[in-house]
Symmetry: C5
Subunit: 254 residues, 5 copies
C-alpha cells in the first residue's frame, strides 16, 4: 500500500497535487500534438523517433489521467481536510506503465545514434533488458514502502544496479556518437545526455520518499518530482531528439 493512503491533506496540499497531475497529462497531450505534426519534417529514416515519441505520449497520458482521477475519487473533503474515503491511491500504475515508456525512450535514442543495424540491435537489447529489470525490481520494492523500509531499500538498491548499467551505456554511446555528428546536432546531443542523467535520476528520489519524508508534504514533493521527471524525461527529451533528427536530416541533404 502506498503512503499516500496513510495520510490526510490540508486543502492547499491536496490541490497542489491535483494541479501538478493535470499539468502532467496536459503536457503529454501537448507532446502528442508536437510529435504527430512534426513527423514529416525529418528524413524518413528518423520518423520512427517521432512515432516512438507519440507512443510514449499516449501511454503516459492515459496513465496520468487515471492517476489524477484516482486522486480526486479516493480522497474526500471532510471538515477541513482531505481524507481517504473510497478505494486506494496507487503509484504502482506508473511503474508498470514505464514498461512501455522506458524501452520506447531508449529506442528513440538508438535511432538518432546512427549505429549500424547489429550494434543497434545489441544496444537495444541491453537497454530494454536493464530497463525492464530496473522497473520490475522497483515495482516490487514500492509495495513495501509503508510496511517494511528495509525491503524498500533492498529492492531499490538492486534496481539501481541495473539503472547504473543502463546509464553507463547511454553516457558512453552518446559520447562515441558525438564526434561523428554535425556541430548543431552534437550540441543538442550533449544537452540530451545531461537531461537524461538528471531527469531519470530523480525518479528514485520519488521512490524512496517514504523513507526520508513520510508526511503529506513528502507526498506533494513526490508527485511533483514524478511530474517534473515525466515532463523532462519524455516531452522535453522527445523535442530535443526531434531537433537532432532535423539537424541530421539537413546534414544528409534531405
Amino acid at each position: 500500500m502506498n503512503i499516500e493512503n496513510m495520510l490526510t491533506y490540508d486543502p492547499v496540499q491536496w490541490q497542489l497535487v491535483a494541479h501538478i497531475l493535470i499539468l502532467g497529462f496536459a503536457s503529454m497531450a501537448a507532446g502528442f500534438v508536437y510529435f504527430m505534426t512534426t513527423m514529416r519534417e525529418v528524413a524518413p529514416r528518423y520518423r520512427i523517433a517521432s512515432v516512438l515519441g507519440g507512443i510514449v505520449m499516449v501511454s503516459a497520458f492515459l496513465l496520468l489521467f487515471a492517476q489524477w482521477q484516482s486522486w480526486q475519487t479516493t480522497f474526500t473533503f471532510q471538515n477541513g481536510e482531505f481524507v481517504r474515503s473510497e478505494g486506494v491511491f496507487s503509484n504502482g500504475f506508473r511503474y508498470l506503465n514505464w514498461l512501455i515508456d522506458v524501452p520506447m525512450l531508449l529506442l528513440q535514442l538508438v535511432v538518432i545514434l546512427g549505429l549500424g543495424a547489429a550494434t543497434s540491435r545489441r544496444l537495444g537489447i541491453i537497454f530494454v533488458g536493464s530497463g525492464v529489470a530496473m522497473i520490475l525490481l522497483g515495482y516490487v520494492g514500492q509495495f513495501y514502502e509503508v510496511t517494511n523500509l528495509t525491503a524498500l531499500w533492498a529492492w531499490g538498491g538492486i534496481s539501481t544496479v541495473f539503472y547504473i548499467i543502463l546509464l553507463y551505456y547511454v553516457w558512453v554511446e552518446i559520447g562515441r556518437a558525438l564526434p561523428r555528428m554535425p556541430a548543431s546536432a552534437a550540441a543538442t546531443m550533449k544537452s540530451i545526455r545531461w537531461l537524461f542523467l538528471i531527469a531519470w535520476t530523480i525518479y528514485p528520489l520519488a521512490y524512496i520518499m517514504p523513507a526520508i519524508l513520510p508526511t503529506a508534504d513528502g507526498v506533494v514533493l513526490r508527485q511533483a518530482i514524478y511530474t517534473v521527471a515525466d515532463i523532462t524525461s519524455k516531452v522535453i527529451y522527445g523535442v530535443l531528439v526531434t531537433k537532432v533528427a532535423m539537424d541530421l536530416s539537413k546534414a544528409e541533404g534531405w
Copy 2:
C-alpha cells in the same frame, strides 16, 4: 458467473490486477499510434495489414478499458480488503471481442503470406471458421467455471480441437511461405511462427485457471496471462508483421 466475483482480494492483489489492466489498454493505444503512423512505409499491397492491426488495437482498447473500469467499480475497499459490492466482473467481454480480433489477426497473416487470391480466400475461410468456433465454444464453457468444472473442461476440450486445426494451418502455411521469402523477411516470419504458438496457447491457461488455482492469486495470474497474451498476440505480432511487410516491399523494389 466468473470466479473473480467469488473471491476477495488484499490491496496488493487488487492493485496488481488494476496495474496490469492499464498496461493492457495503454499498449493497445500505443499499438494504434504505431500502425497508423507506419502505414505509408510499406507497399500499397501490404497496407491492409496495418489497417487490420489498427482495427485490432481499437477493439481491444475499448474492451480492456471496460475491463479496467469494471474491476474498479465492481470491488470496493472495506476494512482492509477488496470485496465485490456492485454488479459483476466478467471475462466474457474478452471472448465476444475476440470475434473481431482473431479473424483480423489471421487475415494479417494471410496478407503477408503472399498466396494467390484463391488460396488466400480458402485459407481465410478456414482460419475465420475455426477461430470463431474455438471462441464461441470457449465462451459457453467459461460460464460454467464456478458451477460445473466438467462442463468447463468439456467445452474447452472441443474448443481446443478447433484451435489445433487453426494452429496446424498457421504452422504449415508459414512453413510453405518461408522458402519464397527474402532472408530478412523469413527470419522475422520464423519468430512470428513461434510467437503465435506461444501467445495463443497461453489463453486456454487463463480459461482453465479456476480448475487449477481457484484463489485470488489465481485471478491475478489469470489477468496477467490474458494481458501478456494480448500484448504479444496483438501488438508485438503486429509490429513483426509490419516488419515483414517492409522487408517484402523493399525486396519488390518499392
Copy 3:
C-alpha cells in the same frame, strides 16, 4: 416503455446482453478505422462511399455506446439477479439514430450503382423517403410493445409496407446494374443484394419480439438480433461496397 424494463435477468442473461452490446460498438469503431484508412484506395468518384460509411460508423458507435452504458446503469445486481433500479432502458435510441444511418447506407448503394445524376437523385429521394417513413412508423409502434400489442402490430405493419417498397427498389436497381458491371464487381454486388435482404429483414424480428417471446430470453435474443443486424447491415455491407468501388476503380483504369 420497452419490455426490457419489465423483466429481471439472471447473471448469464444480463452478461450476454452486456457482451453483445460491447461487440456492437467495438465493431463500429473497427469499421470507422477501415473506412477512413482505405478511402484513398478507390477512384475519387467513389470516395464519398467511404465517407458515408465513416458517418454511419460514428453515429452507430455513439448510439451503441449509450445503449451499453444504459444497460449497466439501469440494472443493478441484487440478491442473485439483475433488476431495474435507476432510470429506464430504451431501444427507441436506435430508431431515431437510424434516421442518420438508413439514408447514408442507401446513398452508399446509389454511389456504386453508377446511375446518371438524374436517376440517382430520383432513386435517392425514394430511398430516403421510404426509409424515413419506415423508421418513424416503427418508432411510434415500439412505444406500445408492453401496453398495446395490437398497436405494435398495426404500426409495424404500415412500416413494413414502406420497407417492402424500399426493398423492391434496392433489389430491382441492383439487378439492372449487374449487367453493366465487370465480373468481380458483379459477384460482390450479388452478395450485397442478399446481405441487404437478410440483414434488414431481421430488424422487424427484434421489433416484434415482445409479441412472440416476452421473456428475459426474448430480450437477450432481441439485443443479439439487433447487433448481428447492425454489424452485417453496416460494417460487412460497407466493406463489400468498398470492394465493389475498388473493382470499379480498377476497371476504369484508375
Copy 4:
C-alpha cells in the same frame, strides 16, 4: 430558470427528448466526418468553408452531448414519472455556444459568395455584429421564461430586430451573387437561401414556447425544434455550402 425544471415527464415524453438529443450530437459527429474528409475536394480558396463547418460541428457536438447528459442526470424516474432530482437543466448552454456557431455559419456563407476582400470584411462585420447582439439579447430573455413572460417577449423582440437585419443582408447578398454563379451552384444557392430562412426562424419558436405551451409536451416540442433547427442550420446547410464550393471549383477549372 428554464421551464424544463418546473415540470415532470411521463416515460414516453422523457424518452422522446433523450432520443432527440442523441440524434442531435450524433448528427454533429457525422457532419464533422463529412467536412474533414471532403475538405480536399474543393479548390484551396474554398477549403476554409469546410474548416468553418468542422468548427461548428465540434462546438455543437460538445454542447449537445452536455445537454443529453444533463437531461439524464437532472431527472430521475420515481414511481412512474421523471422528476427533477439533481441540479438544473439549462437551455442557456445553447445560447452562449451559438456565439461560436452563428459567426462561423455566416462566414461560411461569405466564403462562397465570392465578394471582394473589402465587401467580405464589411459584410462579415455586419453579420457577426448583428448575430452576437441577437444571441446575447435572447440569452438574457430566456432567463425570464418562468418568472416574467413580459420580459421574455421584450428581450426576444429586440433580439428579433437584429435577426431581421441579419436575415435581410443574407437574403439580399445571396440574391446579388446568384447571377454571377454557374447554373448548378446558383440552384443550390437558392435552396441555401430558403433553408437559412426556415431553419433560423424556428429557433425563436423554441425560445417563446413557455409563453405558448408551458407543459411537458411543450418541452418535448421545444427540444425537437432545437434539434431539427440545429441539424438543418448546421449540417444540411454545411453540406449544401460544400456542394456550392465544389461547383464553383469545377467552374473555375480546378
Copy 5:
C-alpha cells in the same frame, strides 16, 4: 482555498458560470480544428506556429473541461441555491496550466517576428523565463485570496513586475519587426500587439477579484474575465498569428 468555495449562488449565477465555462472549452476545441486544418497553408518555416497553437488548444481544452466538471460536481442545488457540497473548486488548475500555454504563445510570436536564430533564442529565454516567474508568483499568491489579502497583493505585485518586463519586450520587439514586414502582415501585427496587451492584462483583474468584489457576482465576473481572456489571448491571437504567417509566406513567394 479560492473564494468560489466560500459563497453560494442563485440559479442564474451558477448557470452563467456553467455556460461561460462550456463556451471556454468549446472555443479551444474549435481552435484546435482551425490550427490543424490550416497548418499546410503556410510556408514550412511558419508551420511550427500552428503546431504551437494546437498545443495550447489541447492543453487549455483539458484544463477548462476539468474546471467545468468541477463547477458541476462541487456545487449542489439545495432548496433554491447552489452550495458547495463535495470537494473544492480551484482556480489553481489554470495557473499551473499556463506554464504550458504562456511559453507556447510567446514562442508563436518569436516564430513570426522572423529574427535571426541567436536573437530568437535570447528573446525566447527572456520570454519563457519572465512568463514562468510571473505565473509561479501569481500561483502562490492566489492561495491567500481568502485568508490574507496583503499576501495576495504582495505576491501579485512581484508577479506584475515580471509581467511588465515581458510586456515591454513583446511591445518593443513587435515594434522593431513592423518596418521589415509587408503591409498586410504589419497591419495584423499591430492588432496582435494591442490584443496581447489587453487580453493578458485582464488576467490580473481576475486574480485580484476577491480583494475588490468578494461576492457571488464577483465570482461570475472573474470566470467571465478568465474565459474572455482565454479566448482572446489563445484562439483569436492564434488566428491572427496564422494570418501573419500566411501573408509572410505569400510575400516570400511560397
